[in-house]
Structures are given as C-alpha cells and as structure tokens.
C-alpha cells in the first residue's frame, strides 16, 4: 500500500522549510552569542538538571501557558487550547498512525492526513471500547478543544473587551497571512475528516462522523471530490502557515524554546543588543498582555507599549518617540508570559539614540565630604521634598547615629536618570565622582531616601559597604529599639515606587515598617502589580496632562479602601501623587518621625 497522494506535498514542503528556517535561525543566534554566553550554554547543556528545568518550563509556559492563566484565564485557555491541543494531537496522531501502520517509520505527513489513508478500516459506531474508536474519540475531542480556542481567538479579535482587554495587538501582512492560515488549519481538518467520514459512511469520531454525514447530505457536488478538495486545502493552509511562520509572530513558538534554554543556562540581557536580545524579541508572541497592564493606557497612549516597541525592534525600525515613550516602570516585564526583559530592551534602544551625546562634568570638584558611620544620601528629588530630609535627619539624630548628610548642599545626581535615558557613559562619570565622595566618608553603610538612587547604588556602584533604602534602615532601627514609637496612624495605603518595588524587589520592608506605625490597608493592585505614579524619569514623551491621567489612575486604585493617608517611599512618587491626592501623601520616613514621641 502506498500511502501517498499529491495533496500532501504542500504540507511536506512547508514542514521541511520551517525546520530548515528555524534551524538556521537557531544556529545564527547561538553562533552570535558572546563567547561568555556560549560557554554558559555548553556548560548548561551538560547539566541534566538544567535541561530538565528548561523542559519543565517549556511544558508549563509554552504549552500550558501558566503565566497567562494567572494573568487572564480566558486568554490562558485560548493559548493553551492551541498549543497543548495541537501538541497532543500530534502525539496522539503519531500513536494512532503507529497503530495502523505498525511502524514508527511513517512519513511525517502520514499522521496528519491519517484519515485520508485509513478511511477503509471500518469501525462500527457501537464498538465503543475498541482501540480505533478510542483513538477517534480522543482525536475528535482534541479537535474540539482546539476549535474552542479558535472560537475564542476569533471573538478576541472581534471584541477584545469580552476578554477584559482594553486593547488588542494589530498585525503586519505576514502576520495576517499566518494567522489566517493558522485559523483555517483546524476548520479544514474538521471539514476534510468529516467529508471523508461522511463519504465513506465510517472512519469518523463522535463529532466528525455525524457532521460528515450531515455535510454530505447537504452538498450537491460529489462528496468524494469535496472531501479530496478539503484535504488539499488542509495541506495547503498547513504548508502556507509553515512557510510564513519564520516571518510572522509565530516564530515566537520555536524561539521561546531556545530562549528558555538560554535562560536556564544563565544567559542574561546585555547593555547592548545581543543575540539574547534577538531571541527575546523573536519570542514575543504579541499576545498583548503588556498592553492591558501598562499604566500609559490610562493616559490614552496606545502606540508604544512593549509589544509595539518589540515588534518595531523586530522590524528594525523604532521611531525615537516610541523608544522614549515609556515609564520604564517594569510592570509589563512582570506580566509578560514569556518573561521578556522589556525594560532592558528599551534601554538598549535608548542607548543607541543617546549614548553619543556629549557631556562635560569637569565642573565637579572633589570637596571634602567629612566622615561618619552612616552616610545619608538624600538624592536630587528629595531636595524638593524637604520634609523627608527633615524627618530622616530627625530620626537619625534621635537614634544617635553618627551620620553625615552627603548631599546637604545639593546632590550630584546618582546617574540613574542619565542611564534611563540611555546615557550610561555619561552616568558613569557621575557614578565615579559619587563613589569617591562616599569612600572618603569611610562609612560602613549608605542610606538613601530615593529609590532611584538606591537602585543604581546597588546595581552600578559596586560599593564595599552596605546600601539600604531608608525603609529598610528605619525598620532595622525600630527592630533594634533604637527609636521609640508612640503615635499610630490609622488606615494607610502604601504605594510601591517602581524602582524600589519591581526595581529592587523591596516589597516587605516598607510594609513592615508601616505596620509598626499605622494600619496598612490593602491595595487592589500592589507589589509587582503596583501602578507607576506617572512621574517616572523613564518617561520622556508624555505631556503633563497625560502624566496627570496616569497619576489619577494610580490614585484611584490607592484610595479604593478609603485610606486616610497614602504612604510611599520615594520623593518623586510623593510629589507626583501629592499633586492630585485629596488626602495627605507622606513618605514612610515622615510617618516614623511623626510617631516618635517628642522630647
């Protein structure tokens, strides 16, 4: 028996093409990895534990879509039905083929078009527990599973609101072809199998058989001809889809697998656009989850979110405005199902734009900074919220800390504002300057009131001393009984500053600290999901009124549980929220200071 028909050619050629194309890309990316990453990859692949972990993640994320489930169950189901359904269909199809052919060595198209080749193997409908019946039952079940996802996908495109999404992604031409063919694959399979089952009066499952009988009864044309045409269509859409895959968003499927391997081997994003960045970019499925969670949506900004930015990077053209129109708050990174480092990709792009710009900081001359046990760096922004400085100095004095206020006469910027604009080289000049100043103090600890400074001190300064944000430092003072507490605030809602929360994962210290002096009320979206206050230094392209909208959106969530005070731990957040809040906005240092009994 020759299991061949010409209609399998489009599929077979497409399959060969997609394997070659994906293989070529994988090879290119791996070859382009920096030497250090290549070493990491080789070492990783020698490590079965890492491979197992990667495979587990591939199963959970690429097939089950776990993160997406967490984010949006409907969307999770939709993606899972496609990915897992199709995957199981292939597995089961192969087993079924083996059952019929008795060999593993089937042509790759054979399992796909199995029903075309085995329609003559009669299985009676009432033979419920026979093996072929079970195969047909589960194959039909999987088909329904996938088709249910397809219906959801179709509805999402038509009415994204039903999915609780404010915005869905828009697509390119190749994407349109790919998505059309992808959507057609399973309806075509359904029609081909059904018509075949209807024509022969057998061979179908619980769905395909009755549907086939019904369709045949309706169709005026000879049903064998219709069934054959459908097989051709099925093969064609598969073939076209495979050919389009490397040029469409669906490239994310094979790329994500590679990315997961990379990550498990310890490869990290670089400051420049590396092969790793390219795999990240290619792994974006454009699912649009980042759209919905972006604070900019509140300001009506809908063209520069991570998904659009990344697709621009993929197409090798990102308008400067798009690169600069982002708060760099990190929220999208938290929710991205693929875990793409969206902020780091954006900064890479910003570096390309601005890194060449000249700077001249020769006017900074080393003054004598004095000595102390603890060096307190208030930060530029904190100079605009002097109550924080007042509170911090009051607390430090009260606790009997030997401290020096390093930037009492004005701060030399920590460098992060420059870095967030892509000017790392220029930032390094400031970093070096500040490092010298800090070293001169011979302090054992650096405390700052500004999360922006805190983050860069930790990430870029390589200081040999402990670095704490004042939330951590104050908590420790309280825990060690260095400061007495008396007052108590009722109903305080805490706003996570982006750089402190998502930036340095400092979620608990401020909450614990507030717990010592106040009743902390819950906030619907907090910690990793906290909204940016809208004042972020990462944003360049938003107007004042747009920023105000973002601030108001963040405030709306903060005030849901009727707090009496909003607490935050960032001077910039305090200033931004304070502009629009109807209640007091205080830094946690102020809360602590006010709770200390007056001497």
């Amino acid at each position: 028996m020759i299991n061949f028909n010409f209609f399998v050619l489009p599929f077979t050629l497409g399959l060969i093409y997609v394997f070659l194309a994906v293989g070529k890309s994988w090879y290119r990316w791996i070859a382009a990895l920096p030497a250090i990453d290549k070493v990491k990859l080789t070492n990783g692949l020698k490590h079965p534990g890492k491979i197992a972990a990667a495979l587990r993640e591939i199963f959970l994320e690429s097939l089950i879509h776990r993160k997406m489930w967490k984010q949006n169950p409907l969307l999770g189901y939709m993606h899972m039905s496609f990915a897992l359904g199709w995957f199981l269909l292939i597995i089961l199809g192969n087993i079924e083929s083996r059952y019929y052919s008795g060999t593993h060595l089937n042509a790759p198209y054979y399992p796909i078009f199995l029903k075309f080749f085995i329609h003559d193997k009669l299985v009676l409908f009432f033979e419920v527990y026979s093996v072929p019946f079970l195969f047909r039952f589960f194959m039909d079940f999987l088909l329904i599973f996938i088709l249910s996802g397809l219906v959801l996908a179709f509805l999402k495109r038509k009415q994204s609101k039903w999915f609780g999404m404010k915005k869905t992604t828009s697509h390119h031409f190749t994407d349109r072809v790919a998505i059309t063919t992808l959507w057609l694959i399973f309806p075509m399979r359904l029609l081909a199998e059904s018509y075949t089952a209807g024509y022969y009066g057998n061979g179908g499952g619980f769905m395909t058989q009755p549907l086939g009988n019904f369709l045949v009864s309706l169709t005026p044309l000879p049903s064998d001809f219709v069934a054959y045409t459908m097989w051709w269509c099925y093969s064609l859409v598969l073939g076209i889809f495979f050919v389009m895959l490397p040029y469409s968003r669906y490239m994310h499927i094979p790329t994500e697998i590679l990315l997961i391997f990379f990550r498990h081997c310890g490869i990290q994003p670089k400051k420049w656009y590396s092969s790793f960045s390219e795999t990240e970019v290619q792994s974006c499925s454009r699912c649009g989850v980042c759209l919905d969670d972006c604070p900019m949506i509140a300001a009506g900004i809908q063209d520069s979110q991570a998904v659009y930015f990344i697709s621009g990077v993929r197409d090798r053209y990102v308008p400067e405005e798009i690169s600069q129109k982002c708060l760099v708050c990190g929220r999208c990174q938290e929710v991205c199902p693929v875990g793409i480092s969206t902020d780091s990709l954006r900064l890479i792009k910003r570096r390309e734009i601005t890194s060449g710009q000249a700077s001249d900081f020769r006017y900074l001359t080393n003054g004598h900074s004095g000595k102390g046990d603890v060096v307190y760096f208030s930060g530029c922004m904190t100079h605009l919220t002097p109550t924080i400085i007042l509170a911090m100095k009051g607390i430090l004095t009260r606790a009997g800390i030997d401290f020096i206020h390093l930037d009492a006469d004005g701060s030399v910027c920590c460098g992060r504002p420059l870095m967030i604009a892509g000017k790392d080289r220029q930032a390094n000049e400031l970093i070096e300057f500040n490092k010298t100043l800090i070293r001169q103090t011979q302090a054992r600890m650096l405390v700052t009131s500004c999360p922006i400074c805190y983050r860069v001190f930790r990430e870029e300064y390589n200081l040999p001393i402990r670095i704490q944000h004042h939330s951590q430092f104050l908590l420790n003072l309280i825990k060690t009984g260095k400061i007495p507490l008396q007052g108590h605030f009722s109903k305080v809602a805490y706003h996570d500053p982006c750089d402190l929360g998502r930036g340095t994962k400092t979620y608990e210290a401020p909450r614990e600290l507030i717990g010592k002096v106040a009743d902390l009320v819950n906030v619907r979206e907090e910690r990793e999901k906290a909204h940016c206050c809208g004042g972020s230094l990462g944003m360049f392209e938003a107007s004042n009124s747009q920023r105000n909208l973002m601030t108001k959106a963040a405030l709306d969530i903060l005030v849901e549980n009727q707090p009496e005070t909003i607490a935050t731990s960032c001077p910039l957040c305090k200033k931004t929220l304070g502009r629009h809040a109807s209640m007091a906005v205080k830094d946690i240092a102020e809360l602590v200071y006010e709770a200390i009994p007056r001497e």
Binding site: A358, D360, F361, M381, H383, L384, C413, A421, L572
Partner: protein
Amino acid sequence: MKDFGFTVQLDHSIDYDAKDKRMMRYVLYHEPSLDWCIGCGSCTATCSAGQFTLFNIRMAHTLLRRGETEKLKQELKKCMFCGKCQLTCPRGVNLRNVLLRINRAIELFG
C-alpha cells in the same frame, strides 16, 4: 592682513534673522510644551548642576530660540538629567524631553 595692534570685536547682539533655527524647530516640533515657558527661572534655581556651576536651563532655552548654537552646545553638556527642573516648572514643560531633544538636535544639526 595688517595688524594694527587691535581687533574688530564681534557684534554682541543677536541677529535673529541670520541665525540657524533648525534646532529650535526640531525641539519645538518634538516637544511643543516648550512653548509654554514664561521664563520664570524656577528650573534654573532648582537645577542640580546649577549648584556646582553656571548652568542655566532658562538661558539654554533662550539660546535655542535665538539660534545661539555654539553656546548652547557647551551649556547642555553640564546637565545631569536628574529631572528636578521638570518638577518645579509652573507651566508643566516636559523639560527632560526638551533637554534630550536639544542634545539630539545638536547631533543632527550642530
């Protein structure tokens, strides 16, 4: 050329019509909020760099408007980009983008 022991001094005044306005046009196109400036100087008063050197954002803006490119270039290098200026602006000018765009304009037309 003869040396008489003295030189012709450059005209100190700004000849508006002789100046290159490309940088001004570029920055205003990309950051129209710059038009809202009333020259109050609060940006300059709060400026982090201004604590250490004669850096004047209000002046930089005016230099941009008048096409005084050379001086502007030297001035802009001193900016630390900290963003305090933007927080004090009474008119809500998006100053960090202004500074970023001026730098860009310097690259493009300087």
